[in-house]
Assembly symmetry: C2
Homo-oligomer: 322 residues x 2
């Protein structure tokens, strides 16, 4: 029997690193994860990761050919193969991760940021199959964005295109971790939703269980659950989030004219509570020539393994172009 | 002696249609123009245009080979070869201009909108030579934008990407001709500058010759001249225009991560009165990872012939890829 062609997808997150083998149809084998330790050196991290990879590789129930490795990570620089200024990790200003991985695996290795990986994953294995122009918005602690134009990831001159999380909603608005004010991700993200809920506690008078929760303890999940139960404050927090997101997605469409925009990541699992009003607002703000032609859709990748699929799709996409 | 390779560049505007022959170095020969008549049928227009072309072609002082025709026009659809819903012309919903031109000239003919033509002109003959990622913003009656990523024009799914003029500055803001409110071009354009001056007449108390001019008679040129003379109202009008433009260009950079952004068109001839403060505001609003790396520059194409050069560059660019 022939060897099965596989790639390895690795997703490096601030708290957890996941990996698994993926074939060309998007089937995942032996996915696993290990903690990413903030204070660990990169050499230690790589050695632990290699150990993990060899372990799941030995457990594969069929003979295979490993064709390449794809990595998704925050602050990853595709052109340089590096991770730069990863604030949650003790890895210094720039780590040449691709070279470190290649020391152990003499294979094609590519890296990109997690939102770009999500976009390419959507194109190969998700709801963007057959599309040439689309965006994936990842809504987690922050707001990330991967842009596909003409079936290719858009990197731009810096290698960091698609920083929609730092477009301006209000020049005098909320403080952002980036040093600016009023960035989109201070409104539209899990953290942004919490800030909006806090602002509504001040603005409105509705009683709400949110008033009995400290800011530290408030979570997007709690606000979601309350909204589902009909809590007016929580519902209003989602509506405001949707309005700002819809407005900025219409702006993004005016730049890029995509066929569709996909919402992925933790906050996107709020489903139609976020998706339906965002779609309505996006169409309100849409330039007339595109109105009604840009679909707002949920990601087609299964939560939990979407990051591995994205990283794997990245290297499959690259290998197909060789 | 060998025939000289030339293309014909045609720029169709609402009031004037210009054309001229252009060689591969960007030298223009026998440029001319004729009025675009709002009530004329497209067949009449084409017949007048052909007559004009044959006249300037007969006058060329050297033997030549005409290699192709490039056309820049508002509402031009690159993929379809059409001009769609040209509001200032009596041409109906959609005119297949490329086919009409090809009836007379059995040559490669391409069409795109005027801002895209300006972008490709900048890349071949202007200040963007050698750049792979940049934007050209055309500031005339409205605000147009041509986007180059990876050395290619970005068209998107609709063929109409780069509608930055209709991104949202203020969802409750000024009425726009497109039916929305607060679009960028209602603030940043020749018409937008006049609206800002009118708003300042209400907000501020400074005496100014602008108070003696009717709204209809007020022009961007007049506001420019007054600003140069130090009129506080006119200066403030430019500063506000620059702030909004700078903010939205920082947003555009967050989408596309360009090497540079170029300002072209009538209002851009205000030079440093607009360019210098826009550059400052753009950097204030720029995402930290790009700050200082995105240049804001004037167009390198000579006013008056830039549209012909852009249309010619479009077809040269296409011919080089064949």
């Amino acid at each position: 029997m022939q060897d099965r062609d596989l790639v390895l997808g690795i997703d490096i997150g601030g708290t957890k690193t996941s990996c698994g083998f993926v074939d060309l149809t998007g089937s995942i084998f032996n996915a696993t994860s290990m903690p990413t330790q903030a204070k660990e050196s990169v050499d230690n991290f790589i050695s632990r990761l290699n150990h993990q990879i060899e372990k799941i590789r030995a457990d594969l129930p069929f003979s295979h050919c490993l064709c390449g490795i794809g990595i998704g990570a925050p602050n990853a620089h595709h052109y340089r193969g590096t991770i730069e200024n990863a604030v949650n990790l003790n890895w210094g200003e720039s780590v040449d991760l691709v070279s470190l991985i290649k020391r152990h695996y003499n294979l094609p290795v590519v890296i990109t940021n997690d939102a770009n990986a999500a976009a390419i994953g959507e194109m190969l294995f998700g709801n963007a199959r057959g599309m040439k122009h689309f965006l994936v918005i990842t809504l987690g602690t922050g707001l990330g964005c991967g842009i596909i134009t003409d079936s290719r990831l858009l990197y731009g001159a810096s290698g960091f295109a698609g920083e929609l999380g730092h477009t301006v909603v209000d020049p005098d608005g909320r403080q952002c971790g980036c040093g600016k004010r009023g960035c989109l991700e201070t409104y539209v993200s899990a953290a942004g939703l919490r800030r909006t809920a806090a602002a509504l506690l001040a603005e409105r008078r509705d009683p709400s269980p949110l008033r009995a929760t400290s800011y530290y303890k408030m979570t997007a999940k709690q606000i979601f659950n309350l909204a589902v139960e009909g809590d007016p404050l929580a519902l209003e927090a989602f509506d405001r989030t949707a309005r700002i997101l819809g407005m900025k997605l219409a702006d993004a469409a005016a730049h890029l004219s995509p066929e569709a925009i996909f919402l992925a990541g933790g906050l996107a699992s709020a489903g139609d509570l976020l998706l339906a009003p965002t779609r309505r607002y996006m169409n309100d703000f849409m330039f007339s020539a595109y109105r009604g032609t840009v679909n707002l859709l949920p990601s087609g990748l299964q939560t939990g393994v979407s990051a591995i699929l994205g990283a794997a799709a990245l290297i499959w996409h690259e290998l197909k172009q060789l």
